[in-house]
């Protein structure tokens, strides 16, 4: 999964319900402030609606709802991360965007070593940073329409 030859990867790091997530920067098209969203009847619950991204209409997904997390309030820090899935833009609402990080492949543990739920299939792994853990999302899988419901990754104590 790592970029060939470089031994490291670049991640966009964002907050969601108090945890840190990272997605591969290559899947991120842009990061924008919250926009007005038009509700779409009959859409799945985790779909906020659609918004106008410079003339195209793209769906906006609430990742908290997608992961079954507590519903958060929209704040001044809230952002829409526009990711590119098979050429199509999808807006993902996150609590805040923190930074762009370079992480060496050695710092990444397979998700199965840390997480025991069956939902780990949409995780690429867990990165150990000095002071925290970073959940690496396989955003394509996390947004897969075929999958009805996702549960938030349950982290086990790793301190030991």
């Amino acid at each position: 999964m790592a970029e060939q030859g470089t031994g490291e990867r670049q991640l966009v790091v964002f907050d969601l319900a108090g945890e840190n997530y990272g997605v591969d920067i290559n899947t991120v098209r842009e990061i924008i402030r919250m926009q007005q969203v038009t509700h779409v009847p009959d859409a799945p619950e985790y779909v906020e609606g659609v918004m106008n991204l410079r003339g195209s209409v793209i769906p906006v997904i609430d990742l908290r709802k997608r992961f079954g997390l507590t519903v958060g309030e929209e704040t001044a820090e809230s952002r829409v991360v526009v990711v590119d899935i098979a050429g199509q833009g999808i807006g993902v609402v996150v609590d805040a965007v923190r930074e762009v990080l370079r992480i060496r492949d050695e710092a990444i543990e397979p998700a199965s070593a840390v997480i025991t739920t069956a939902d780990s299939f949409y995780l690429q792994g867990i990165a150990k940073l000095e002071d925290r853990l970073l959940i690496l999302l396989d955003i394509e899988r996390a947004l897969d329409e075929q999958v009805d419901e996702l549960r938030a990754p349950q982290r086990q104590a790793l301190a030991a």
Partner: protein
């Protein structure tokens, strides 16, 4: 095995496109020829098209196509010269050749694996021509190039100009192998090659003469080119069948003294021979550029964005103007904004225009279809096509071809009687199927009309009842025109036995749903014994639609105007409930009332229990009672039997041209939503899919059950 010729892919593409347009032209013309045997212009056009095809296929070395077109040309030449009259046999042979050419084209394009044997077709052509050997192009003595120059001051001036430009002028003489089968093709190649190397000042024969097969087997040319003579010679000898090529520096040979009378009249053409295109053109191809549809779509999307921004800028400018009335800069902004708006509107219109194609591009296929169908069924039918120039968006054109084919087949199969039957009825032996297209305001009307037996409403009622489409009592209550409209019901087919022609009863309902999916409608009108007319009403484009913007439940929605029957204030209606659900009476029509806000909230809920339904009814009644809302009466289509429903909305916002954007995945079923558009303030508004909304929301009540039964 697919054919592979040794030419670059780009050239192949150009060649295939050329073949395509010529075949289209031929398809149409050959059919016309049958009825207009005396039309010399038409004959010329056909001959020229076959000839061009022969030339081009020779250039790419596609021998099967050359053989075939060569024989076509022979045959046509005789007809053209009047030694042969146009017979149905000739037309058949020509059509057979066209089919063969199409197959060859597919082989070359790699879409067909078969390897067509053209021999039987050639035989048919020869039988049709049935006579002696083809008249070869006259190989009479041609005056030399010096004589031509002598008689043409324009050419001499061109020669002097070319010489003055510094490039040496070469006198080139090329002789072909006398055994060469396609002399004109080779001569054309020679001249074409020279054209690419420098300025072809003059040639004997000229390019035009070569094109018209008046070439012989030798060409003399004057070329101004900074190319070494050895290179020229090599290039010329590389062309197949070129036996000799001599290149020498041009020196005038007694030019002045040659009497002018020797000059052939066609020499004038020589002055533009140097700039003549590499391939002969036919008129319909002139002055156009082919462009990838994807590129066009990108441009149209960009213009769509400009349209949205234009509205936005105008809004901001208005706000600023009211805020800073005296400010000079704000005034300039307002002027600029107005100007931008104008330019963007024109740009938008021009782009939409660029997407337009004449319906002729599909209509041209139908004469052949009708001819073949009629022949198969042993009926005599004339197809009259009108309004081929009517333009319609290409996205619509692609979608309506199959429905029209189906309607035509239906007319030929079910509508038109056999010749004997027609004579017995006192009708003309030959039936007429009339296909017309014309513009209406904001839409295009396409009609398929026949003068056949018409549709018998009694028979339709019987069949419908028998097939369980409708109950016997309901059938009796239908008017005749409503009964005839039952042919659009799913699974309905009137053919006593199915035929090869119009299939197995999966017809009219598909036609109808296809047309409706395009925001269009289809109606049928039938006079028993006199004929049937189908009318397709189609939007000019799918990219934009006129919409009524309404607000409901805090959101703005767009309703395509095609579905809006009228807008009324609630006071103008008589409100009531039927079976516990709100309904209203407008003039003498009763219809169900649905609150748009409620409906969209619960869209997708399959069915509602009595209590929930009552609650919803109460809620929407409440909403109506709030005062300032409107009732938008919508219908699913145009026909009288269509369902009509009243939608209550909070506000009417605007009526405008909206750019339709499709909704992507991740939005669930989104039933009742046809797409989205972006409003002037940048907000996204959903476009309602009225037929689906009504279908979704209509729970079975006494009223709607009846309506449904009628509509079915």
């Amino acid at each position: 095995m697919a054919l592979a010729l040794d030419i670059p892919p780009d050239d192949l593409k150009v060649f295939l496109q050329e073949v395509e347009s010529i075949l289209e032209l031929l398809d149409e013309d050959v059919i016309r020829l049958e009825g207009e045997a005396d039309n010399e212009e038409l004959l010329q056009e056909i001959f020229r098209a076959a000839h061009t095809l022969k030339g081009s296929s020779g250039m790419v070395g596609f021998s099967a196509m050359v053989d075939l077109t060569h024989k076509m040309e022979d045959l046509l030449d005789r007809v053209r010269k009047g030694t042969l009259a146009v017979t149905s046999e000739i037309v058949d042979a020509l059509l057979m050749s066209l089919d063969g050419l199409k197959e060859l084209r597919d082989e070359l394009a790699g879409t067909s694996d078969s390897q067509l044997d053209v021999a039987p077709i050639i035989e048919a052509l020869q039988r049709a021509a049935s006579g002696d050997a083809p008249a070869a192009a006259a190989n009479t003595a041609v005056p030399g190039i010096d004589a031509v120059l002598a008689g043409n001051p324009t050419l001499r001036a061109a020669l002097e100009a070319a010489a003055a430009s510094g490039a040496p002028v070469w006198r080139i003489t090329v002789g072909l192998d006398p055994e060469c089968e396609w002399k004109s093709v080779r001569l054309f190649q020679v001249l074409n090659d020279l054209t690419g190397r420098g300025e072809l000042v003059a040639s004997v024969p000229t390019l035009q003469e070569v094109e018209e097969e008046r070439g012989g087997e030798r060409v003399e040319a004057l070329l101004a080119a900074a190319t070494a003579p050895e290179a020229l010679e090599e290039a010329l000898l590389a062309i197949d069948d070129v036996a000799t090529a001599t290149i020498e520096v041009y020196e005038p040979r007694a030019v002045e003294s040659t009497p002018a009378s020797v000059a052939p009249p066609v020499a004038e053409r020589g002055k533009d021979a140097g700039t003549a295109g590499p391939t002969p053109k036919i008129d319909s191809l002139a002055q156009t550029v082919r462009i990838d549809v994807a590129k066009l779509d990108i441009l149209i999307n960009l213009v769509g964005e400009l349209v949205i921004d234009r509205t936005r800028v105008a809004q901001v400018s208005r706000t600023l103007q009211s805020r800073y009335k005296e400010d000079e800069q704000v005034r300039v902004l307002a002027e600029t904004s107005t100007h931008i708006a104008k330019v963007v509107d024109v740009l938008h219109e021009s782009m939409m225009q660029a997407r337009m194609l004449p319906v002729g591009v599909i209509f041209s296929k139908f004469p052949r279809l009708v001819r073949d169908l009629a022949k198969n069924m042993d009926k005599q039918i004339a197809l009259v096509v009108e309004g081929e120039d009517t333009e319609i968006d290409r996205s619509v054109i692609e979608e309506i071809k199959d429905p029209i084919i189906h309607l035509i087949r239906n007319s030929v199969d079910h509508g038109v009687e056999s010749a004997e039957e027609r004579i017995a009825l006192g009708k003309s032996e030959k039936a007429t199927v009339r296909l017309t297209a014309r513009h209406g305001p904001g839409h295009v009307l396409i009609t398929v009309a026949d003068d056949g037996r018409g549709i018998d409403p009694l028979k339709i009622r019987d069949v419908a009842v028998m097939k369980g489409v409708i109950s016997a009592e309901a059938a009796q209550r239908l008017s005749d025109s409503e009964a005839v409209a039952l042919i659009f019901a799913p699974g309905f087919s009137t053919a006593a036995q199915t035929t090869e022609v119009s299939g197995r009863g999966v017809g009219m309902d598909i036609v109808r749903s296809k047309i409706e999916s395009l925001n269009g409608s289809v109606e049928v009108d039938s006079q028993p014994g006199r004929g049937t007319t189908f009318v397709l009403r189609l939007p000019l484009t799918l990219a934009t639609v006129r919409g009524l913007l309404v607000s409901a439940g805090g959101e703005t929605y767009a309703i395509p105007l095609a579905y809006v029957r009228e807008i009324v204030r609630p006071e103008a209606t008589l409100q009531q409930t039927v079976g516990g659900r709100p309904a209203m009476q407008l003039r003498n029509m009763a219809m169900g009332v649905l609150s748009l806000a409620e409906m969209l909230k619960r869209a997708g809920v399959p069915s509602m229990g009595g209590a929930a339904a009552a609650a919803a009814a109460a809620a929407s009644t409440e909403e109506r009672d709030r005062g300032d809302n409107y009732v938008v009466v919508v219908r699913t289509g145009e026909a009288e039997t269509d369902r009509t429903v009243a939608l209550t909305v909070d506000e009417l916002v605007d009526q405008q041209e909206i750019v339709v954007k499709s909704l992507s995945g991740h939005l669930g079923r989104a039933r009742g939503i046809a797409g989205a558009t972006i409003l002037g303030d940048g907000q996204v508004a959903l476009i309602l899919d009225v037929p689906a909304l009504i279908k979704n929301a209509q729970a079975p009540t006494v009223l709607s059950r009846e309506a449904e039964r009628i509509a079915a």
